[in-house]
Symmetry: C2
Subunit: 292 residues, 2 copies
């Protein structure tokens, strides 16, 4: 993934501020060694860092200072990872594999997996409110970013979307989109908003529109991949949607219908990016990645 | 409880800033109605609001402005509540009752209980970083309080303590205290620190000493009550410690030995409070509540 993306290595690779900041977030402190191990296990299990990349790309697209992107990027990655750990639990989606490896609870047990998710959420806010970041970015920006992240994570965001998904009943495209806008879109919209806020832009409506489009595209692509990939390609069990009789973009509109929708969403997102004041190259590249 | 505590009704009772702020935190927003219900269920199930009271009392004891106590008090109560919901889960302490009512997962199911805890944690940070609070208290204080709360909640705090408790093996008083200092003490220390920070005091070491003493006293008292109370008095299943062969202050030192320890801890805490610059009346009253 990284080779195709402008800035990826510099922003997220070895030696980057992001990678040092991520290391610091996982550095074993007081408490239970097993818990720190469980936290590290999933965070370092080879995710693509799509959200951190989006956040950096958004800072660039809004013409902001990239030096302020690392801490909020680590924070959003920790929140995303905690959600994967909790979503994989037996009482939730009951997934035994994640990123090609046994899920967190299969390795550390359910109790530790729940706690690892809980502690990763705390650690996300700790990272974004870190004294060093507050000093560099200012308390106002740091607290605003943390507020946005909290909103995007909670009942009116990601957790709310997962709850809607759990209780089910999305039987039309509108309900499906509303669920995904929270479950996946809220955190992605956060990365766009964070870029705008770091750049001092007031254009949060534009960031939200891009966030929603990219979030939906991400999910449609996920449905397409679930229907067409092997376990090796996917890193988790494929075909679960059809098996569970879930209403997805593919089961509802067929593979080609889903791909059409994906194309439309990506084109609309690209149009939005083109009018942003900064350098949209990286953001367009990230969006391009979602073509199935 | 409230009748004996100076300021309790004014700070936490109906019409108080705290109660309005708590209402706002639970006000149903976007997302899943079932999730909002699950969150509200345990938050409003009649807790004593010990931590919010401690936080208000600490602000007074440090001579700070009580007007800044509500939001961090709501936040610490939400974090505490999320920890109760997760700790009660079958894979954790497996408690069917909490505060005399069926635990969260018995009513809403495991998935929703996990999500309710997750979303309450996000909501805690949302509350403390709320735009109104940031405007009133200043971004620096708000972000510092949120940072302290994140540290107290996570792997080096409450979640770490619960992980130590889960993996077990506390077979002497030192290991037991170390576990409880994180599991219970970290959040209580947060309330003391928050009071000092709101008052602009630099005496965080004193706040930490009181926090640790009160936290330990709280836990010793919990062990004593677990050994001596009925389910009706306790609101949850008693006698579980002895039944599970757990090393507790009572199983290790006997009932009288545990009570001696409790007395010592409370006396030491009281000495610390007496040297604080503000009005320590409420804090002493809160500490006095812990006499078994």
């Amino acid at each position: 993934m990284s080779a195709r993306l402008p800035g990826y290595e510099r922003w997220l690779g070895r030696g980057s501020l992001f990678s040092r900041c991520l290391e610091l977030a996982l550095k074993e402190g007081e408490g239970s060694r097993a818990l720190w191990e469980a936290m590290e296990y999933t965070v370092l299990s080879g995710g693509k860092r799509f959200r951190p990349y989006l956040l950096h790309a958004s800072v660039m697209a809004y013409g902001g200072d990239i030096e302020f992107a690392a801490e909020p990027s680590v924070a959003v990655e920790l929140i995303h990872t905690y959600s994967l750990i909790h979503d994989d639990l037996p009482s939730m989606d009951d997934d035994d594999f994640r990123r090609g490896m046994p899920s967190n609870h299969k390795v550390f047990g359910e109790a530790m997996a729940i706690l690892a998710g809980d502690a990763l959420q705390s650690r996300a806010f700790e990272t974004i409110l870190d004294e060093g970041y507050v000093k560099r970015a200012g308390a106002y920006l740091a607290s605003r970013l943390a507020l946005e992240l909290a909103k995007a994570s909670g009942a009116s965001g990601m957790a709310g979307g997962q709850a809607l998904d759990m209780t089910g009943g999305q039987q039309d495209e509108e309900a499906l989109a509303a669920m995904h806008d929270l479950k996946t879109g809220a955190l992605i919209s956060f990365t766009l908003r964070a870029g705008a806020l770091i750049a001092g832009s007031q254009d949060l409506a534009g960031a939200d529109r891009i966030g929603v489009l990219v979030g939906r595209a991400f999910q449609v692509r996920d449905d397409v991949l679930d229907a067409t990939s092997t376990k090796e390609q996917l890193g988790k069990t494929p075909g679960k949607d059809a098996e569970q009789g879930k209403f997805t973009y593919v089961t509802a509109f067929g593979l080609e219908g889903a791909k059409d929708r994906l194309r439309n969403l990506l084109e609309m997102a690209e149009e939005e990016v083109k009018v942003l004041p900064g350098d949209g190259k990286a953001l367009l590249a990230a969006i391009g990645l979602l073509r199935a």
